[in-house]
Symmetry: C2
C-alpha cells in the first residue's frame, strides 16, 4: 500500500488510518547491498523451494521431487558424517556421556582436550576471538604435516565461521582509497560468487581474470598480466584471489602454476588469497594438491619472507561435508604486525566463531591416528566418501560429454562440474526478450520440467557468448545417473524445441 510523506511527521491520513512512509525502502537503503548478487542461492533456488512446497501440497508436476544440485551440501545429498567426529561432538555437548562405555577412548580423550580448553569446560563459553588455543595448535601441526614440515606458527592461525567469514574479513582489511586509487581485487572468472558479492558490498573494484576453458580451466600468467595492466588504469590492484581446487571449475593447479602465480604476486605487489577449501577433493590421475604456503616456502626467503598470503580452509567440504557447523580457519603469512593487531581487534567485535565449529575443525586436523581405536573406521569412512566422489566426478564428465551441445572438462577436483552448453539462437533471443540471461532461461526451464536445480554459469561469470551451468557431483551414484540422464534428455528436448 502506497502513501505520501506528510510535511512534518512523514504521516498522512489514508483510508482513515494514519499511514507513514517507510523509513527504510529500496530507494533509501544501503546502495552497496543492492549491488550484491549470490547466484548459488539466487532466484532459481527460490523457485526450487516454491516447487518443493507445491509438490508437498499435492500439486501435479512433471517430476516427483526437486533435486538441489545447486550447492555443495554433502549431507543433504545423503553423505554420512564421520562417526568419530559426531561422537566427539556429542561428548562435548553433553559431557555426562564421558562415562558411557559405548564411546571409544580416543573420542573421549579428544572431547576432554577440547573441553579443557573451553571456559568452565563448556562449549557454551565464548572462546578467544582468534579461536581456542589448543585448536589453533592442532591446526598448525596439521599444516606442518600437510606441507612436509614447513613450519607453522599457531599465532598465524585464526579460526573462522566457515571459510566465507575469513575471506570477507581479509577483503575488508584490504579495501581503501577512492576513484582510481580504490582497492582492486583480482578474482578468477568463473568464480565462486562469494567474492563478487563481498567486493560489491565493500565497494571494492572487481578485476576479472579468465581461466582458460580450452586448457581445462587452467590459469595463464599472461592473462593475469593482461588483467592487472588494464586494471591499473582505473583502480589500485592490491590482492589476487585463487581458488584451488577450483570452484565452480574443478581444476587442480600444478605446482609450476602456483610458483608462477606467487612470482607474479611478488612482482606486482599483490596480497595473495588462496581459497583451499577443497584440498582433499582431488580425483584426477596425475593431479595433486599443493598448498600455496608450501610452494611459497620452497621458493626460498626472497618469497617466503616477503609475499603476503592468507589461505583458507573449512569443515564444509572435503570428506567431511559439515557445512552446517560453520567451522573454518585461515593462516596468515607475512602480515604486518600492526595490521594483525587490527585484524584481531576487528574479529573481537563479533566475539568468537561458533565453538562447535571450532571443535569440529579440531577433529578434522587431528583425526584418529594409527593404533587408536577409531582409526580403522575413520579411514574406511573417509576413503569410501572420497572414492565415491572420484567415481562420480568421472561419471559426470563421461555422461555429459555424450550429449551433443554439452562439453565438460574433466572434474579434476572440488565438487562440481561446470560444462559448457550450446544454447540455440532462438532460445537466446527468447531469453533476451524476457530480460533473462540465456543460461538462466535454460536452467529455469530445466527446473520446471525436471525438478533439477542447477546454477546458471552467468552467476559465476563466463566469457561473453558462452553458457554453462554448475552442477554438484554429490548425489549418490544411482541418483546421479538418473539426474545426468534427465539433464541429457532435457538438453536434447530443449535444443530440438529451439532449433
Amino acid at each position: 500500500h502506497s502513501s505520501f510523506s506528510g510535511e512534518a511527521t512523514g504521516a498522512v491520513q489514508l483510508n482513515g488510518i494514519m499511514s507513514r512512509a517507510k523509513v527504510l525502502t529500496i530507494d533509501t537503503m544501503n546502495p552497496t547491498v543492492k549491488k550484491v548478487e549470490y547466484a548459488v542461492r539466487g532466484p532459481i533456488v527460490q523457485r526450487a523451494v516454491e516447487l518443493e512446497r507445491e509438490l508437498s501440497e499435492g500439486m501435479k508436476k512433471p517430476f516427483a521431487e526437486v533435486i538441489k544440485a545447486n550447492i555443495g551440501d554433502a549431507h543433504a545429498m545423503g553423505q554420512q558424517p564421520i562417526t568419530f567426529f559426531r561422537q566427539v561432538l556429542a561428548l562435548c555437548s553433553y559431557p555426562e556421556l564421558l562415562s558411557d562405555s559405548t564411546f571409544p577412548e580416543d573420542a573421549k580423550s579428544r572431547a576432554c582436550r577440547i573441553l579443557q580448553s573451553c571456559g568452565g569446560n563448556s562449549m557454551g563459553s565464548y572462546s578467544a576471538s582468534q579461536g581456542i588455543d589448543s585448536v589453533r595448535q592442532d591446526v598448525a601441526r596439521y599444516i606442518e604435516r600437510r606441507d612436509g614440515g614447513v613450519a607453522c606458527d599457531p599465532d598465524n592461525i585464526y579460526l573462522t565461521t566457515g571459510a566465507s567469514d575469513g575471506i570477507v574479513t581479509m577483503l575488508k582489511l584490504l579495501v581503501c582509497g577512492e576513484g582510481t586509487t580504490r582497492t582492486g581485487v583480482m578474482i578468477p572468472i568463473p568464480q565462486y560468487p562469494l567474492y563478487s558479492a563481498a567486493l560489491a558490498e565493500l565497494g571494492a573494484v572487481q578485476i576479472n581474470y579468465f581461466l582458460n576453458e580450452e586448457k581445462c580451466w587452467s590459469l595463464d600468467i599472461t592473462e593475469l598480466q593482461r588483467a592487472v595492466n588494464e586494471a591499473r588504469q582505473y583502480c589500485n590492484p592490491r590482492a589476487l584471489c585463487i581458488i584451488n581446487p577450483g570452484n565452480p571449475t574443478g581444476q587442480v593447479q600444478s605446482r609450476q602454476c602456483i610458483e608462477d602465480v606467487i612470482r607474479f604476486a611478488a612482482k606486482e605487489r599483490l596480497f595473495l588469497m588462496a581459497d583451499e577449501v577443497y584440498q582433499d577433493n582431488v580425483y584426477a590421475e596425475g593431479c595433486q594438491f599443493h598448498s600455496f604456503k608450501k610452494v611459497l616456502f620452497e621458493m626460498g626467503p626472497e618469497y617466503a619472507e616477503t609475499v603476503e598470503l592468507a589461505s583458507f580452509h573449512s569443515t564444509s567440504k572435503c570428506y567431511m561435508g559439515e557445512c552446517g557447523f560453520r567451522g573454518g580457519y585461515m593462516e596468515i603469512i607475512n602480515m604486518d604486525d600492526e595490521v594483525k593487531d587490527q585484524l584481531t581487534k576487528l574479529l573481537s567485535v563479533r566475539l568468537c566463531p561458533p565453538v562447535p565449529g571450532q571443535a569440529l575443525m579440531d577433529l578434522v586436523v587431528n583425526p584418529p591416528q594409527p593404533g587408536e581405536p577409531s582409526y580403522g573406521s575413520f579411514i574406511k569412512e573417509r576413503t569410501a566418501t572420497l572414492s565415491a566422489l572420484a567415481e562420480k566426478a568421472k561419471l559426470t564428465e563421461q555422461v555429459l560429454n555424450t550429449v551433443q551441445g554439452i562439453s565438460c572438462n574433466p572434474v579434476q577436483g572440488a565438487m562440481y562440474s561446470f560444462p559448457r552448453i550450446t544454447i540455440p539462437e532462438k532460445a537466446v533471443k527468447e531469453a533476451t526478450e524476457t530480460g533473462q540471461q540465456p543460461d538462466m532461461f535454460y536452467c529455469m526451464k530445466m527446473l520446471e520440467e525436471t525438478g533439477i536445480c542447477l546454477v546458471p554459469g552467468s552467476g559465476f561469470g563466463q566469457k561473453d557468448g558462452t553458457y554453462h551451468f554448475r552442477m554438484t557431483i554429490l548425489p549418490p551414484t544411482d541418483k546421479l545417473k538418473i539426474l545426468l540422464n534427465k539433464v541429457k534428455e532435457f538438453h536434447q528436448r530443449f535444443t530440438q524445441q529451439y532449433s
Copy 2:
C-alpha cells in the same frame, strides 16, 4: 624490519635478501576498520590473558588467579548448562543415541523434530539462509506466548549468528548518503560497544543519547529529542537503538517509557532496533520485561501498522548463557517487502547461521512443557540460575554502595553492575600524562594488583568527567563476595594513594 619500496617492483636489496614493502600496512589498510573499538575485549583483556600466562609459567603475582569479570560469559564463570538442552544437542550431533534408553523421551522427540528439518537429517547440512523453517515457527509461537497472544509471522523471523550478527546486518541495510545526509543512528550512552564498533566500520554517524544515571539509568524522551534535533544539523537520523534490559547499565524500561519511545520514533521517522537479549534477566521488585513488539501492537494500528521495528534475541544470555553456540534470532516488523528481499539475499551470501546454534535457539523457545519428563528438572535448573543471578545483583549493589567513592544503581536486570567511581585529581592527572583514560588507568591498576579484570566506563561511553567500570555479576556467590571485597579494598587503597 624496515625496507624502502623500489621503483618498479617495490623490492629492495636489504642485508643481501630481496625485501619488499608490505602490500598491507597500517597506513594502507581500510581506514574505517582502524576506527573500530571494542573495549569488552580490548587492551585490558589482552593484559589479563598475558597475566594468566605469566601465572601459569610460575611468575609471582599479588594474586593467585585472574578473574575475568569483563564479559557476560556465564559458563566460564561456572554456570551449568541446562541439562535438557545439552541432551538434545548430543542427540542431534550423534543420532545413534536416539536408541539410548537413558535419554528422556522429550529430548528425543525434540531432536527428531530438529533433525527432520535438516537436509539429510544432519546438522551438517546448510539450512535456509533465513534459518530452519520449523525453528522459525517455534520462535514465532514463543513470541506469541511471551507477548500475550500478539500475532507473530514466522516469515518475519530470521535466525542469526548470535544477536550481534542480526544487529550488524540491520545497521548495514540502513546506511546510505554522504556528508550531512549520511545515516545517523541513535545509541544510548553508556552503550554496548558492538554498536559504536559497527557504526564506525559502516561509516555511519553515531548519535549519542545519554541515559539518566541519577534516575537509575532511565531513558528521557527530552534527551532523545535533544539528541535528534542536534544531529539533524550534521546527518540524517534514521534509526534508534534501545537496549532493554540495559547493557552495561542494567536498567529495565517501564511500559510507559517504551510507549513514549515508540511514539518518538514514529514522530521522528526512526527505524527502531530493540536489543532484548536480556529479556529473562529481570531481578528488581516492580520491574517487568515488556517487549517493544508487544507494546507497539497494543498501541493500535496507527503504530502497529507503520513503525518499523527489528528486535533481537540470543542464546547467550538469560538463564542459558550458551554464548559459544552463537545462536540468535531477529524479528522484523513493518519492513518494506523489497528491503526484506534484499535482506534475505544479503544473508544468503554467508549461507546460513550455525545449525547447532539454531537447534539451541529452538530449545530456548520450545523448552519442556508440563507433563513432559524433563519439565521438572528444566524448571528447577532455570529457576536456580535466575534466582542466583537476582541474589548476586542485589549483593553487588549492596557491597559496592558500602564503599566511599563508589555509587551503584540497582542492577534491575541484565548481568552487569556499572557503578560510578570517584577518581582523585592526582590519579586523573597521572593517567592523562600517560595518555590513558582515568578509568582505564584505574582498571589496569586493579588488574595488576588484584587479578580482577573489569572494563572501564570509557569503553561504553559516559558523561564527561564521570568514571565507571562494568563488572559482571556472574561469578558464583562465594567468589563474587571475595571479588567485591577485593574491589572495595583496591578502591580504598587507590583513593588513599592518590589523595
